[in-house]
Symmetry: C2
Subunit: 117 residues, 2 copies
DNA sequence: TGAATGGTGAAGCATACGCTTAAGTATCCT
DNA sequence: AGGATACTTAAGCGTATGCTTCACCATTCA
């Protein structure tokens, strides 16, 4: 079984490469074969297959071979997991920031009262 | 100057490590010193500093030294950039999915008409 | 002043990554 | 059958990553 943290490792690692992101961008437009994915990339087909393996291991992409062509498609729920971690951190940070704002506002209020007394 | 794509490389690379994510999670709660960041992590202080450098290079974290303690804090706008790439891919994928739904609905409609003629 | 604290910098090392080339397999087409 | 297409697999290679240890500073405090 895969730990949630390992899952994130694989996913962010997969996204940390411009070629792989290009492949995901292409697949966001619709399914594609391996050679179609390779076409815009300046590297051997072998290298593309290796990138594809990284994407598949991360769960971001799934592929299936029929006849001699392998068709790849994105797994959009996997993107959710990657996105969720980020948005949760941001939410925590913003909540903290709001609290901080309140504290500062209260302090200003207190000082205001004091100056009037 | 830093290309947008390199920026994403650095950011996702930075997030692709559980220790570094732990550091970001800690910093989401508020600023911390290097040793505070190191405390829950099972590695040398030196290693933590190296992780910190990766986080700083990515723009996710900023730090500043006063006296002999370095205080670190997250840079929440940097998280936005990472999040945006993902949500944009998802948006494109979903738009495509909607179109596909329409096409299938239209086809079903056509077939329906034919079967009645 | 001298010890403790908090961090810095460099070197070294094992493993992982991103790529290449080269040789092979399975499928499709004529 | 024979050739073209679409991968697949394995080996190799240079560089990057994630640590460690050890030798340093600076600051702070007794």
């Amino acid at each position: 079984m895969l730990h949630h943290s390992d899952q994130l490792d694989l996913m962010y690692q997969a996204l940390a490469d411009a070629s792989r992101r290009a492949m995901v961008e292409r697949l966001a437009l619709g399914p594609a074969s391996v050679s179609e994915l390779a076409e815009p990339l300046d590297m051997s087909l072998s290298a593309v297959v290796q990138h594809l393996q990284v994407l598949e291991a991360s769960g971001l992409v799934h592929s299936e071979k029929v006849g001699r062509v392998r068709t790849c498609r994105i797994e959009p729920q996997a993107l959710d997991i990657a996105e969720r971690w980020i948005s949760q951190r941001r939410a925590i940070w913003e909540r903290r920031f709001d609290r901080l704002g309140q504290i500062l506002a209260n302090q200003a209020n207190e000082q205001d009262k004091e100056s009037k007394s």
